[in-house]
């Protein structure tokens, strides 16, 4: 199983909705969603679609980014009111070196079951609260950094389902920096996680782990699409516009980058619903907006991993 970690923003959620539309029958994707917006509208529609299609997902009850950092109450209210069928939705907590006690209290107060924990790198494995938390039977699945071997060993001993969470995307400062990196290795976890003793793998897709709010109009348009370069590795290819001297004419820049992407996919016979959508924008001369571009690269990535995992089962 693949656990893409996504922030609950409009286009990330749209990617999930559209993915759910096509792949529910054979889904090897279990999205982990960190709510970051005060408005729950996009979350509601995405969750409804996933529940309707029977796709399981996780919702983080103590987000560490965005508008809800100190407003966990509104997430609880949202869950109580809008998630009628909790079967598909797994309550999730981010564990750091200070909040184990808080999480234990929440689990008891809300009588939560089937819990997922995401351990940050700074968890103190000597802390009694932390150990009490992870040992609880309700906490079934735990995400940890793939490099944290001591924690993995400890959790293995107490029989937890362990998923490795790594940031696989090598973010550059500026979009134009990707010009010098036409492509790079993204992941091989889809082939290795079991061998390495994990029950699943997670990453931050092609967005990387940094939480970026809003942002200015970029000088360059960059799109990041993953593909299976060989039997073991998934690579990410960066398609970047050419005229990047200022932040004007974003439509023209989209056209430049899209031309490169469409031609690459065509000559390598790579396809997905996301690529079809991109190609249709390109051939009809339409600029869909940067949000849609983000949606497409996420959706394409989910489609790719899902198809690889479905074949190998």
């Amino acid at each position: 199983m693949y656990y893409p970690y996504l922030r609950g923003k409009q286009f990330e959620l749209l990617a999930l909705r559209e993915f759910a539309e096509f792949y529910s029958a054979n889904c090897n994707i279990f999205p982990i969603i960190e709510p970051v917006k005060k408005s729950f509208n996009s979350l509601t529609t995405a969750f409804q679609k996933m529940q309707e299609k029977g796709i399981s997902f996780s919702i983080i009850l103590n987000p560490q980014n965005g508008e809800l950092i100190n407003d966990y109450r509104s997430i609880e209210t949202f869950i109580k009111n809008d998630l009628i069928d909790l079967n598909n939705c797994r309550p999730t907590f981010i564990v750091n070196n200070r909040n184990s006690r808080y999480i234990i209290n929440k689990i008891e107060e809300l009588e939560l079951k089937n819990i997922i924990l995401i351990c940050q790198d700074n968890v103190d494995t000597e802390n009694p609260d932390f150990n009490y938390l992870v040992e609880r039977a309700e906490c079934e699945l735990i995400l940890i950094n793939g490099d944290n071997r001591s924690l993995r060993r400890r959790l293995n001993r107490i029989g937890k389902v362990i998923v490795r969470l790594d940031d696989k995307f090598n973010s550059q400062k500026k979009n134009s920096d990707y010009i010098n990196i036409p492509e790079e290795r993204f992941t091989e976890e889809h082939r290795c996680y079991e061998e390495d003793g994990f029950n699943g793998f997670a990453d931050y897709t092609v967005l990387g782990s940094d939480f970026i709010e809003g942002g200015r109009l970029p000088y360059a348009v960059a799109m990041h699409f993953t593909y299976e370069k060989n039997a073991d590795e998934i690579w990410v290819r960066h398609f970047v516009s050419d005229t990047n001297d200022d932040n004007t004419n974003i439509q023209g820049k989209f056209g430049e980058a899209a031309a490169k992407a469409v031609s690459f996919f065509r000559s390598n016979s790579i396809n997905s619903h996301a690529i079809e959508e991109l190609t249709s924008y390109y051939t009809s001369g339409q600029y869909p907006g940067l949000g849609v571009l983000k949606k497409l690269s996420i959706k394409h990535h989910l489609e790719l991993i899902n198809s690889i995992l479905s074949q190998s089962v």
Partner: protein, 293 residues
């Protein structure tokens, strides 16, 4: 004999005051009513004046603002005084749109104004260097009808030698108060550069300009639209293009008309945060609370 070193220098204190006028801090305040960013300053510098010089947060902000205005005129003070002294007292807000940090080509004008004409203001405080000045002003004069340097009276002489088409405005001390005065009027610039213009405005705005003048958009794909519109704009006579630029920019959403109803120390902050009258009531309410540390 050992000399007691002052714990905090006057300059540090003032710089620290200047940091209060930050839109992200006020946005946070509006969201959470968290006064930490102000309380920390009061605790560090002004605990002994609490209850005598000020008791509420808005009184404290007025106190801090006046300290800065007198002894540490940072960019915030200049911008806010442009609103108070020039916009509200002199130009008027009727049919006016003021925009902060307006991109012009590759520079950013500190403040610009559109009413019957277009004005750009470049602020040079006593704390600034003049390093980038000539390049920036060169960009502004290519699309704005009037360009001004706004500075302190003590620096006017230094800027007298710049391009004499550029106007000069000075903050001047008058007894115990300060006001702004136009020392040299800007020459009206009758040319306009379509290349810089298209790079300074939004897609919908340059499309509207082309539609207004030619009745329709060039027939091409979206990817080529920018270049096609630029070619068309080069064919619009300069006075018509200037007029269309001003008309388009005046359509931008702005709270310029409401600024005079906002408290005078926070007008620039309200402008840059695009505070609506409704949000302002909320802010006013929050700030009228008694200081609690």
């Amino acid at each position: 004999m050992p000399i007691a070193r002052p714990h905090i220098t006057q300059k540090e204190r003032l710089r620290s005051y200047a940091a209060i006028f930050s839109s992200s801090s006020f946005a946070h305040l509006l969201r959470t009513c968290d006064f930490d960013f102000i309380n920390s300053k009061i605790a560090r510098y002004d605990q002994n004046k609490l209850g005598t010089k000020f008791t509420t947060y808005s009184e404290y902000i007025r106190y801090v603002y006046n300290q800065l205005k007198r002894d540490y005129r940072c960019e915030y003070i200049y911008k806010n005084e442009i609103i108070n002294e020039l916009l509200l007292k002199k130009y008027g807000t009727l049919n006016t749109v003021v925009i902060n940090e307006f991109k012009v080509g590759r520079s950013v004008a500190d403040m610009v104004l559109f009413n019957g004409t277009s004005k750009a203001f470049e602020i040079k405080t006593e704390l600034d260097s003049e390093r980038r000045l000539s390049g920036q002003l060169n960009d502004y004069t290519r699309i704005f009808r009037e360009c001004y340097i706004v500075t302190h009276e003590s620096l006017i002489e230094k800027y007298q030698s710049t391009d004499e088409n550029i106007g000069l405005i000075a903050i001047m001390k008058h007894g115990r108060t300060f006001h702004m005065e136009e020392v040299r009027k800007a020459t009206i610039n009758s040319s306009i550069d379509a290349d810089i213009l298209i790079r300074s405005i939004r897609t919908q705005e340059y499309k509207n300009i082309v539609i207004s003048y030619f009745g329709e958009l060039p027939k091409t794909t979206n990817f080529q639209m920018y270049n096609a519109c630029l070619e068309q704009m080069k064919n619009i006579p300069t006075d018509a293009l200037q007029h269309l630029f001003i008309t388009e920019l005046k359509k931008r959403a702005s709270n310029t008309q409401s600024l005079n109803t906002y408290v005078k120390e926070l007008r620039q902050l309200c402008l840059s945060m695009k505070i609506t009258p409704k949000q302002y009531l909320q802010l006013d309410n929050i700030l009228s609370q008694t200081i609690k540390i």
